[in-house]
Amino acid sequence: MSSKTPADPRPLSPFMLGQYYRFQWTSLLSFAHRITGIGLTAGALLVVGWLTAMAGGPKIYAMVGPHITAWYGQILLFCWTWALMYHLGNGVRHLFWDVGMGFDLKTAERSGYAVVLVSLVLTVAAWAVARLA
């Protein structure tokens, strides 16, 4: 068990995908929760960078501001908005599970579809406010 080179190299979790593991909608959403979580950590650090640049005064902020309004900044912001809305919605789904609600397969699959739909609606809503209001 503690040996560094196991005599029988068995497939580990990520390698189970495709070959042995049947695709499930719910597990895809589970990966997405973790991936968006990691992405949002990077995003939180960017928010801190944004505020720090602002605290540094207009001259330092002038080095950051144009990147936000540039096309790549806007694409990043759009994906970031969706990642946050998805992680938020799926997080609420997790909170329901934590109190023992919605655990059966049918409900878990349906709440998964609902979370993706809600995340898209909230993302579009936020951008509609930003662009149309």
Binding site: G37, T41, T69, L84
Partner: protein, 129 residues
């Protein structure tokens, strides 16, 4: 006679082998709950800001409102705390070697603590300027 190898005291304390019981699990959920309104507020406030004047002066003026500054500080604290807890779980899941696990776990705490201090200080500096 019980087959349980845990002492009655250990069971009563309920702290398990990691010595902190359900603390991580619980604070992850409490910070998640706090972040539901806080992150919706943040996203829609930024979206609303984007429709108007996005000059440096306008952004600084927005942050200088006491309600905005206080909510931003709460948002930063809850976000970075929740993020630290989440990244910790990912490290515990994927970093196997004990020495590198300990190093990366400490690095995670330091990076988040520095980010929280810097972010909150920045908000206060802008708000109180």
């Amino acid at each position: 006679m019980s087959n349980d190898l845990r002492s009655p005291l250990s069971r009563a304390r309920g702290l398990g082998s990691a010595k902190d019981g359900v603390h991580h699990f619980w604070v992850q959920r409490v910070s998640a709950l706090a972040l539901v309104p806080l992150s919706l507020w943040f996203v829609f406030s930024i979206a609303k800001l984007a429709t108007g004047n996005t000059s440096y002066a306008a952004l600084a003026y927005w942050i200088s409102a006491p309600s905005v500054a206080v909510t931003l500080v709460l948002f930063l604290a809850a976000t970075l705390y929740h993020s630290m807890l989440g990244v910790q779980v990912v490290i515990e899941d994927y970093v196997a070697a004990p020495a590198s696990k300990l190093t990366v776990l400490m690095l995670n705490k330091f990076v988040h603590a520095i980010a929280a201090a810097a972010g909150i200080f920045a908000v206060l500096k802008i708000a109180l300027a």
